[in-house]
Subunit: 248 residues, 6 copies
C-alpha cells in the first residue's frame, strides 16, 4: 500500500490493522562517473515498495534528499545539514504518530544518513514524550540499511570481491540498472581508484576521491545482478520489518 | 533531463549550457474521500517532467512533503513546520548554487506551500550573499503554481464551474487519474460540501471541513480531463520557465 | 483602546467583552529619495489606530521592523530574517492567546511581510495545539493589507494611474505626509523609473532599482490625498475587522 | 534625527558624519494597577528622542516588545523568548553594520532586557566577524538603562524613599504621566505591597506579586516629577552617548 | 555529595531530603601569560565542592565551557555562542526538574557567563511551564559568582589594591595555585597593563588587551592567598545556598 | 598536556608542534544500581589523559554531559538533545580550528554519543568551509570509543563472558573503581537482568530495563580489572591517535 496513492479513509482503515509504516530514505548525490545521482533514493524506494508488497505495509513517499554534505563538491549533489534533517524527521514522525502510527521503519539507501537519522530518533522520542501524546511510549523507529543486509553483502562479495568498494558500488549501480534500464550509463573509468581515506569535508573528499568513487568498480554491474540484489534485500528486510512490528 | 537519472558529469555538462533547474514541490496530505494523499506531489512531478522535456531543463527530485499543518488532523498527512521547510529549501538552493545553478523554478502543486516558499527564498538570498558566493547576486527563485495557470483555471471553470472548489478539486484529482489510472478511487461524497471558511488550525479545519474537501466535487474528474489539464499546465509553465530563464 | 496606554486591569476587563486584537505591522526600509524609512510602520499604525477607535478594539504596539531583506542594500533599512520573524510572531501570539485573545488582526503596511506572516501563523497554530492551550482551536490570525483595500486601490488609480507603482508609492507617501506634515521631503526624482523586475537579493534589487522606487512617482502625493487614503482604509478595514471578529 | 522620519539619502549623509545610532528598547508588560503596559517602551522612546536631539544622533524605531516572560501571567503582557530576542537583535545590528553603523547605543527602559541584550551583543560580535564585514572589529554595543542613571536614582530616592520599589515604580510611572497626561490612571492600591522575592517563573511571579507591583507606590508619581526624571535621564545619557561615541 | 560519584538510587534517596543542586560553571579561556586556561572552571569546581560538603548538597559535573567569545582570538579558548548555551542550560535544568530538582544554584567562575545564564533561566522557566511539569512553578535558578562575594572582594582589595584588575586577576590565579600547585606558571609580565576598555569583539579585545590581562597583576598571587579566597568563598556561598534553599 | 592547566602562550607553542587535540566526551547518566552516574565521563577522561601523556597531545576539558535522553527516566541523568549537542560541538571545533587545531580526536565513553557526534562533525565541516577558514579543508574529526577497542573487548569477554552486557558493564564499572576506589558501591543486584531490547524513549527504556542495567553484571568488576582495561585502552587509543595524526 502506497501512502501517496491512498486516501485518508484508506489510511484510517489501515491504522485499524497496523501501526507500522515504511519510510524510504535516500540521497541526491554524485555516484561516480557512471552512477546515477538518485542511486540511493531509487534503490531505497524500489526495495521499500517490495517490502511493502510482501508485508502489506504502507509505504510513505521517499525522502529523496538526505545528509550528503561530503559529496557537495560535485555538481548535482543536494544535501540537508544534519540540524535540518533532524527537524524534518521530527516533523514526519510527529505528524504520523499523532495519526496513530508507532512503528517507523526507515529503509535507507545511504550510509551518510545513518548517524543523523539516529540522532533524529532520539530527539523525536523526547519531543513526543514532552508533547504527552498518548502513544509516545509506543513510538519506535528503526533504520534498515539495505546495503548492509547480510545476503546482499555476501552476494556482492561473491560477484565483485574487493571491487565492491564503499561508494558508487557495483551492487547499488546494478539495482538502478534493473529499475531504470533506460538510464544505464557508460563512461571511462580509471582503472585505479582510491580507497581507505575517511570522510571529512566536501573539499577534502573531492581532493582525494577525484571521480567520486570510493574503491569501487561499477563497471561490473549488470541489471541482472540488480534484480538479484533487489530480491535479496526485499526478502531480508521484509523479515526485518515483520520482526520489528512484532517486537515488544 | 532528470537529475536523479543523471551522473555528475552530465550535470557538469548541463551547467555549461544552462543554470536553470526545475524543482517540483508537492505535499503529502488528505485530499478528501477520493483524492490521493500524494495528489499535490504527483501533479507537480508530472507537470515538472513535462516542462523539463519541453524546455530541456533539468528536473530535481520532487519535494514530496511540504507545508500542510492544517491538514494534520486527517490521518496520512505529513507536514513540515514552516521553520523546518525554510531551512530545507535553504539547504537545497545553497548546494545547487555552489555548483553553479542560479535560476530555481519551483513547480508547485499545493497552495499551502506558497507563503513558506517565498519566505524561504528571502532567507536564502540573504544567506547566499552572506556566504559571499560568486554567483549570489544572480540567484533567482520563482514559484510557479500549476493550478493557478490561467489556461488551467479557465478549463476548470468551463468543466466544473463552482464545483471546482479549492481543495480536493476535480482538476487536480483528474490529473492524478490520468497519471495513475490504477489508483482511481470511488467513495460516497456528501452532496453538500462546505466552503468559505479560512484556514486556521488543524483541529479547526477538520471541524469545519469534515471530509476534507473545500467546496469541491471531485466526482466530476476524469482521466481525460486530467490529460487536458496536464497539457495546458505543461505548455503554460514551459513558457513561464523560458521567460524566467531569459529574464534579467 | 491602545494596549500601551492601558493597564492590565483594563485589558482584563476588555477580554470580558472581546477576544480580538489589532496588531499593526510595518517595516523599516528605504522608500526612495523622498519616502520615509518608517513609511510602512507609520501608515499601518495610523490606520490601525483609526480602526481601533472605530471598532473599540484594542491596538497592540506596532511591529516596526519586518521582513525587508531585499531593501538592505540601502542604508537605514532594518530587517528580520523570515526565520526570526516567525519566532517573534509566535511569541507575540502565544503570550496573548494565553491571556485569552483569539482573534489576531494584523494591519500590515508592507507587502514583503505577507508571506512570512502567513508562514508564522501556520507555525503558531500548530504550536498552540501542541501546548494544549484551552483556546488553541479558537485562535485565528488574519493579515489585512491596507494598500490592497479595494477603495484604496481605486483612489490610487484615479489619482495616479500607473504612476502609483509598487514601492515608494504616492499613496503611501501621501499617508505619511498627512500624519507627519513636518516630515515632507523634497528631492529630485529621475523622470524615468524602472519597474517590472521581480524581487530577489538585496544587491540585485539595488542594481535594478537604483534610487529605491519601483515604478512610482511619489511627487504626486499630497497630505490631502493622504487623509483620503487613511479614511478609506480605516473604513474598509473596520468592516474587515468586524467581519473577522464575528466569523465562525 | 528620527530614522523613521528620514529618507535613505539622509541616512547616507548622516553616516558621513557619524556611525552612531540610538536604539530605544522597552517592553510590553503589566505595570501594576495604575501603570501603563507600554511604560518601558514609552519612557525609553521619550528619553531616546531627547538624547537624539541633544546629540544630533539618529534614533531608530523603538523595540516595543522585549524580554518579559516573568510578567506573562498578567493579561496584556507580550514577551519574546530570549532565544528569539537574540536573533532579532542580531538581525538589527547586522543590517545597520552593513550600512556603516558601528556604535549601537541601546537606551533601555526594562531591567528584564539587560541580560538578553548582553547575550545578543556577544552573539552578534562573533557573527559579524564570521561574516568578515569590513567594520566588524569596530562594532560596539552598549546598553544604557535610564532608570539606573545616578541622577535619576538620587531623585527617586529623595522623592519616594523606599516606596520607589523595583517594578511599576513611581519614577517610571511619572515619566509616562508627563508624556501621556491623557492616560493617567486611577485605581485603588493596596497599602501593603510585597518586595524582596526574586524573579522566577511567570506563575510564581503572579503568585507572589499579586497586583504586579514590586515594592512600589506609584500613587506618588506626578507628571511634574516625570518631567524632572526625563530631563535628568536625557542629560545623563546624552553625556553617556557622547562618551561612548568618542571612546576608542 | 558528587553527582558523578553517585548512583541513581543515591540520587533518588537524596531527592527525598532535598530538591537543591549545585552546578559549577566556568569557562575555558585565556587568562593572561601566567593564568591557566581552565581558571574559571577550576575555581568554580573547587568552591562548589566545598559548598557541597558544607551543606550536604549534591554537586553536578562542572560546565567547563561557557560564554567566552571575546577571548577567542587567543589560542586555547573554547566558547559556546549564547544561543547554544541557552539550549544547553535548558536541557540540563529540564532533565533535572523532571527528576524532581527545583533549586538550581549555579556557582560561577566567569563574569562572561552571567548574562547568558540569566537569559537561559528565563527561557527555561517559560519552557517548563509550557511542558506543564508538576513542579514547574517551584523551579528556581540562581547564579552565585564566587568572585563577587563581598568577603572575597574585600580580601582582594586588601592584598592587591587596584592590581586585582578584572581578568586574570591575582585572586583567581591564587585559587588555581592552591588547587593545582604543580601548575603554577612563571612568565614575564609587562609592568604596564591596560584597563578600562569595555568588551566587544574578540579581535577588538586582543587588539587592546594584548597579553590577555585586564588591569591585573597575577604575579601577586600565592597558593596561600588561594586557600584564603577559597575558604571565604565556600563560607559565603554556603550561606547563600542555604538561604536560597530555604527561601520561598 | 592538559589544556585547562596550560596558558595560552603554552597552547601557542604547542600549535607550532602539533595541530592535534584530544577531547574526552562522556555522559551523565544512570549506570544501574552500583554504577556511577559519571561513569562515561570518568572513564573517557582517565583514558584521554593517559593517551595525552603517552603521545604528548593536549587534552581538552571533558564534555561531561552528552546524549543520554533514553536514560532520563532515572534521576540524576542529564542529557543534551542532539540538536543542542550539534551546536555545542560545532562551537568547540570552530573556536579551536580558528586557533589552528585541525585534528580532533574525541575519546568517547558513551555509545549514545556516537550518532550525534558524527552528525555534528558533518555539520561542522560544512560550516567551516562556509566560513572560509584557511584550514577548513584540513579539519578532521574522529570519534574513538574506548569500550570498542579490540583489546578491551577481548579482555571483557575473557573476564565476564556474556555478563559484560551493554550498559553498566563490569568493564566500565571496573575502570571507575580503579580511578575512584573511594566510590565503589555495593547494592543488591537482581540475578536476572534483561537484554536485547532496543533503545527507544526514556519511558520505554525504564519500563524494560527497570534497574538501569542492560544485560550486565557489574558485580564482577574489580579495581584491578579496571587498571587492566585502562592500560589497554590507553595503549590502543594512543596508537589510534598517532595514526590519525599522521594520516593524510
Amino acid at each position: 500500500m502506497i501512502l501517496h496513492l491512498s486516501t485518508w479513509h484508506e489510511v484510517e482503515a489501515y491504522l485499524q490493522q497496523s501501526q507500522g509504516i515504511i519510510i524510504p530514505i535516500g540521497s541526491t548525490e554524485q555516484h561516480g562517473p557512471t552512477g546515477l545521482i538518485g542511486t540511493d533514493a531509487i534503490t531505497a524506494e524500489a526495495i521499500a515498495r517490495g517490502v511493502g508488497e510482501a508485508t502489506q505495509a504502507i509505504v510513505a513517499p521517499t525522502i529523496n534528499v538526505g545528509m550528503a554534505l561530503h559529496h557537495t563538491a560535485f555538481p548535482g549533489t543536494i544535501s540537508l545539514r544534519p540540524s535540518t534533517m533532524i527537524q524534518m524527521v521530527r516533523d514526519y514522525i510527529t505528524c504520523l504518530a499523532k495519526a496513530g502510527f508507532t512503528k517507523f521503519y526507515f529503509i535507507n539507501g545511504h550510509g551518510g544518513n545513518i548517524a543523523t537519522l539516529k540522532a533524529a530518533f532520539s530527539e523525536t522520542y523526547a519531543y513526543l514524550e514532552d508533547l504527552r501524546l498518548n502513544n509516545a511510549q509506543q513510538v519506535q523507529c528503526q533504520v534498515a540499511n539495505w546495503f548492509m543486509c547480510s545476503s546482499v553483502y555476501q552476494l556482492a562479495k561473491e560477484l565483485y570481491g574487493n571491487q565492491e568498494g564503499s561508494h558508487a558500488t557495483p551492487s547499488e549501480v546494478a539495482v538502478t540498472q534493473y529499475v531504470y534500464p533506460e538510464a544505464i550509463k557508460q563512461a571511462p573509468l580509471a582503472s585505479e581508484v582510491r580507497s581507505g581515506h575517511r570522510i571529512y569535508s566536501a573539499t577534502d573528499f573531492r581532493a582525494y576521491y577525484s571521480d567520486g568513487r570510493m574503491g569501487s568498480n561499477p563497471a561490473l554491474a549488470t541489471p541482472e545482478h540488480g534484480k538479484q540484489f533487489l530480491d535479496l534485500a526485499v526478502k531480508e528486510l521484509s523479515n526485518g520489518y515483520l520482526e520489528f512490528l512484532n517486537a515488544e
